[in-house]
């Protein structure tokens, strides 16, 4: 029978359980926070969890400062702690650590990247300025500047979101992202009257042509071929500006409007015609406050920049649709459409799904039921969902999670207990580092820096990141790019991140390793350790033990145990003793250990 460690189940266990170091039967001991006060009980989640942990025989536990410091830095700021931050962590409480890393610019950036993957951003499909606006909206949510209800209202009707997922995909993605489950067929069907509202206007992505053209020439394709395929591609990639036409549900539904109860209450979007003919273009209105201009088609102006004049490239150029400027939707129209967002935020499952999403991201095991049946704590979800609904922010939810026992416990199981029998919340999370986080952590560990690989809005695998708007890509180079070879299209950092599972907005990244990823980690570890400038301590005395101590601290971001140093030193000595077939000298032995540490499961998990 499936055992669910809800508080009710724990209460039942309490009635029959055995004592925990107390001679009295467990049922006679009050394990609650009231019965056994503890500083952890001040935390609303821990107030629920502490009695349960006591019942398991472990009680509340806090991970060592190093372990928690690395976990928080990676989850919240998307990077490993600097040596200075690590030193500061030694005296910080979990709440103080959380405040440090949530104040880091990486915090909102990490959240934006997560949403880019969640909503599958793609600037080839929608107007890039709309995507930037959507991304800014996510940033404001995690900066605490926007409430979740307003965020949902804006997101659901955002032209970028609809443009990425038109028609049934809009419904499917709303359910998947905001309600935490797939839409059923009857729900897809029920949403269709709302889909009739949307209208698309095509405009051309000439920068796409130019990016492709350069890439094609870089790959030694003839200019004629590059031009032909560049034109075709840019035609394929012509961008859509999305608007609404509150009369599109006419004429058959002219009197009734667009009626749908897919989100619960009956929504009725009434026809509202500016022009008498319901299909007149004058009835179209923009949802976005912006409208594409010639500068959007080619940032420096079509007439001022040769490469933007695609017609000069000859060979059957594509004629792009002219831009007609739509008026912005007026307040009455927005109020009409706001019914959709209002219906969503009125649902209890919207708030629960928001909480589940953050719990999954930060804990890894949340609702991964195949791993352990006890991967869901309804009381915790209800608590956080209620706070969020009652005016709390997503930022507050994140802070509550990362300062709770769900997050701050050590990943190790409590001494003397059977880890296979314990529920997952009896230990801290263990997740996999992949993609750009692995690379940036590895580069930092050897005293270098890696470029970020954040193609939130583009396809790094197909095009050069020469997007018109600098906000569209953040692919800076690091010091490793000065030494390690660039690929045919990208600096080393970008190529390496792709080998490690892809950049944000590129292919969807693997959540777990596969063998191909392991190939890459092994090769990249070797490359970084070969060129790293800080693989040995400053002023190194040549002693293997001091190198081992230094490397464990730098790579694994924790203090090395004396026995561990002794073992590693023995192995380094064996490598040196192997001579030319192993490590020729002590420095090579240090670099050899560096590879082993970077290519370890300890490094790749956190």
């Amino acid at each position: 029978m499936r055992v669910v460690w809800t508080l009710a189940a724990i209460a039942a266990a309490l009635s029959t359980g055995a004592g925990c170091g107390d001679d009295r039967p467990l049922r006679e001991i009050d394990l609650s926070c009231e019965g056994m006060p503890d500083p952890h009980c001040d935390h609303p989640i821990d107030r629920l969890l502490v009695p349960a942990l006591r019942e398991l025989g472990s009680g509340p536990r806090d991970a060592a400062a190093d372990e928690l410091c690395r976990r928080m830095a990676l989850d919240l700021a998307g990077r490993t702690p600097t040596p200075e931050e690590r030193a500061a962590c030694q005296t910080q409480t979990p709440a103080e650590m959380a405040d440090v890393y949530m104040a880091d610019p990486g915090f909102t950036r990490t959240a934006r990247q997560a949403w880019a993957e969640l909503a599958k951003y793609e600037s080839l499909l929608v107007w890039s300025a709309d995507l930037v606006d959507l991304d800014d909206t996510v940033g404001r949510l995690y900066a605490g500047e926007l409430g979740y209800a307003d965020f949902v209202r804006a997101f659901a009707l955002h032209p970028a979101f609809y443009g990425l997922h038109p028609d049934d995909s809009w419904t499917a993605n709303l359910f998947a992202i905001f309600l935490g489950r797939p839409a059923r067929q009857d729900e897809l069907d029920a949403a269709r009257p709302l889909l009739q509202l949307w209208a698309a206007q095509v405009f051309a992505g000439r920068e796409v042509f130019w990016n492709y053209y350069q890439t094609a020439l870089g790959n030694s394709q003839a200019e004629a071929a590059a031009t032909t395929f560049g034109n075709t591609l840019s035609y394929n990639a012509a961008k859509f500006s999305w608007g609404v036409n509150l009369c599109r549900c006419t004429p058959s539904l002219l009197s009734a409007g667009c009626v749908s109860d897919v989100f619960g209450p009956t929504l009725r979007i009434a026809p509202r015609c500016v022009a008498p003919d319901p299909f007149d273009a004058a009835n179209l209105a923009r949802l976005s406050p912006r409208t594409p201009s010639d500068d959007d088609l080619c940032p420096d102006g079509v007439t001022r920049r040769d490469e933007c004049r695609d017609r000069r490239r000859g060979l059957d150029p594509v004629t792009f649709a002219p831009l007609d400027v739509w008026p912005e939707l007026d307040a009455a129209g927005h109020a009409e459409l706001a019914q959709i967002g209002d219906a969503l935020v009125a649902r209890a499952d919207l708030w629960e799904a928001a909480v589940d999403r953050e719990l999954r991201r930060l804990l890894g095991w949340w609702q991964a039921t195949f791993k352990h049946p006890d991967s869901d704590l309804p009381a915790v979800r209800a608590l956080l969902a209620e706070r969020l609904r009652d005016g709390g922010s997503i930022r507050e939810v994140v802070r509550l999670i990362v300062t709770s026992q769900l997050y701050v416990q050590p990943a190790a199981i409590p001494a003397g207990l059977d880890g296979d029998a314990l529920p997952p919340w009896a230990a801290g999370p263990a997740k996999l580092l992949a993609g750009d986080r692995w690379l940036r952590a590895a580069a930092a560990a050897v005293g270098e820096s890696a470029g970020t690989c954040d193609f939130r809005f583009g396809q790094a695998s197909e095009y050069e990141p020469r997007w018109a708007d600098p906000r569209l890509v953040d692919a800076t180079v690091g010091t490793i790019d000065d030494v390690l070879p660039a690929g045919p299209r990208f600096p080393y950092s970008v190529g390496a991140t792709q080998r490690l599972g892809g950049c944000t907005g590129d292919a969807r990244r693997a959540e777990l390793s596969d063998v191909g990823l392991a190939f890459s980690q092994a090769a990249i570890a070797r490359e970084l350790c070969a060129i790293g400038s800080e693989v040995t301590p400053p002023g190194w005395d040549g002693q293997l033990a001091s190198a081992a101590t230094f490397l464990v601290e730098r790579v694994l971001a924790r203090a090395a145990a004396p026995t561990e140093v002794a073992t590693l030193t023995d192995e380094m000595s064996a490598c040196v003793a192997a001579g030319a077939s192993g490590c020729g000298d002590a420095e090579i032995a240090a670099r050899w250990l560096c590879v082993r540490l970077l290519d370890s499961a300890q490094f790749a998990t956190y």
């Binding site: 071929a225 075709t232 394929n236 230990a427 596969d514 090769a523 490359e527 082993r596």
Partner: protein
């Protein structure tokens, strides 16, 4: 015993079992000589091919504006777009091949079969991929390669290499799921194998030449630190450790010169033989690359190299390989850009059949024990009166031509020259057909051909309707 032989005998079979105890008891499948195949090769026609213009083509312009390939006698009509119109010289190989001539698709029409499947639900690209090679992003829906890996582990069948997914359109199936351990090796391209690594010899010597006191040394570093992890954390780290061990072993094999297909330096490296005019000739990297480069438009030469890599993977005993093609998702520009891709596909299919039938393997040929199929996201809707939509392309999701998908099938003893799962090519509405096969049944067929239990509830597709035996009748 050579290292690679040892690997063939031990890797990825019983070794994998240690990581998933739940599968250890499920050994009721019987891969081996009694199975019809010991390898499957899937060409995944990314993005949704216009099936109605390909291997079960329509004479209706709306479905197929390019018409039918004339002079071909087979139960299925081939679309003219599959013929790139190359002159005989463009089918002639160079001196390394002894000037051999590669058959065209027209010449090969009787040497393969066509299977039609009909999906009852409207899919999108993502959902179609879940059904076919890759699996879902969460890992909750494993792809066929993952299922095959798990099935072979359950049957304790040693294989020479893991499953490979070459040029995945998206990296699915590697997520959190009960079969995560068996996800295939994802390689972006032929350039992703370790033989193409940028690690310089100097860096190798500067980092200790890969010294190890024994094979288990790297694991010993992790074991003390990870032993006290919670079961959930251990699953993550043990899966990672398993993949690291596998990567070390298969990575060493893929680092050898005969896998260095992305560079010219090792073109002379050989693996196995090809029979030319009754005489065995060592099969070099350069020959493989030449074969698939023959008649290839410049933009598809990378795909050709990936096919060459797939052949090498078959040669070392990988049980399942998916090679994704460049995209067929021509919502626009299909009129101009479609023919080069379709023409190369037709050429490639014929060349692949010719090559696999020429490589000796186990007393027969590689084709005898390899089931080769094409898959795609779905078919495409019919166009307007000209055969296209307003952008000179086609869409998907609103017509039976999208729901019906014709797969080319060859090898593993399948009966050639058959049309299995036919449909009226005036409508492609298979709902009225007496016998109708579904995409999951094709997946079940792949498992069954390998001797795996397609109804197994751990790795199989028990609700698929069962394998399609008609392919062998």
């Amino acid at each position: 015993m050579r290292r690679r032989d040892f690997l063939s005998a031990s890797l990825f079979g019983a070794g994998a079992l240690a990581c998933l105890p739940a599968l250890r008891r499920r050994a009721h499948a019987a891969p081996g000589p009694s199975a019809r195949a010991d390898r499957v090769l899937i060409l995944n026609l990314t993005g949704g091919i216009r099936s109605s213009a390909a291997v079960h083509a329509s004479a209706d312009v709306a479905y197929n504006p390019w018409g039918l390939m004339a002079g071909v006698s087979s139960p299925f009509a081939l679309g003219a777009i599959l013929d790139d119109g190359g002159a005989p010289a463009s089918y002639t190989l160079g001196p390394a091949w002894g000037g051999a001539m590669v058959p065209s698709l027209r010449d090969s029409a009787g040497a393969f079969s066509v299977l039609g499947t009909y999906a009852m639900t409207r899919g999108d690209h993502l959902r179609a991929r879940i059904e076919e090679p890759t699996g879902s992003a969460s890992g909750g829906d494993p792809g066929i390669l993952t299922r095959i890996g798990a099935g072979l582990a359950a049957a304790q069948t040693p294989t020479g290499a893991p499953a490979f997914h070459v040029a995945p359109a998206a990296r699915f199936g590697a997520g959190l799921g009960p079969l995560s351990t068996f996800v295939p090796v994802s390689l972006a391209s032929a350039a992703s194998v370790p033989s193409s690594s940028s690690v310089l010899p100097q860096w190798v010597s500067d980092t200790g030449n890969g010294f190890a006191t024994d094979d288990a040394m790297r694991d010993r570093l992790d074991l003390p630190a990870l032993a006290d992890r919670h079961a959930v954390g251990r699953l993550v780290t043990e899966t990672l450790a398993f993949h690291r061990r596998a990567a070390r072993d298969i990575g060493a094999r893929l680092a050898e010169d005969d896998f260095a297909l992305a560079t010219a330096a090792q073109d002379a490296a050989t693996l196995g033989e090809v029979t030319l005019g009754g005489v065995g000739t060592p099969l070099s990297n350069g020959m493989l690359k030449e074969l698939f480069a023959l008649g290839a438009p410049p933009q598809y030469q990378g795909f050709g190299r990936n096919l060459a890599l797939a052949v090498r993977m078959l040669q070392i005993g990988s049980p399942a390989i998916v090679v994704e093609t460049p995209t067929f998702d021509f919502h626009s520009g299909e009129r101009v850009s479609g023919p080069p891709l379709y023409g190369y596909l037709g050429r490639t299919w014929a060349a692949l059949r010719w090559l696999l039938a020429s490589i000796p393997s186990g007393g027969g040929t590689l084709l005898d024990r390899t089931l080769v199929v094409t898959m795609s996201d779905f078919g495409r809707d019919k166009g307007g009166p000209t055969g296209y939509n307003g952008g000179e392309g086609t869409d998907h999701g609103a017509d039976h031509g999208c729901y019906y998908l014709a797969h080319a099938v060859m090898g593993a003893g399948t009966t050639p020259g058959r049309l299995v799962g036919p449909v009226d090519t005036a409508t492609y509405d298979a709902r009225a057909e007496a016998i109708r096969y579904s995409p999951p049944q094709l997946l079940a067929t792949l498992l069954d051909a390998l001797g795996l239990d397609a109804a197994d509830d751990a790795y199989g597709l028990p609700t698929s309707g069962g394998p399609i035996q008609e392919l062998w009748s």
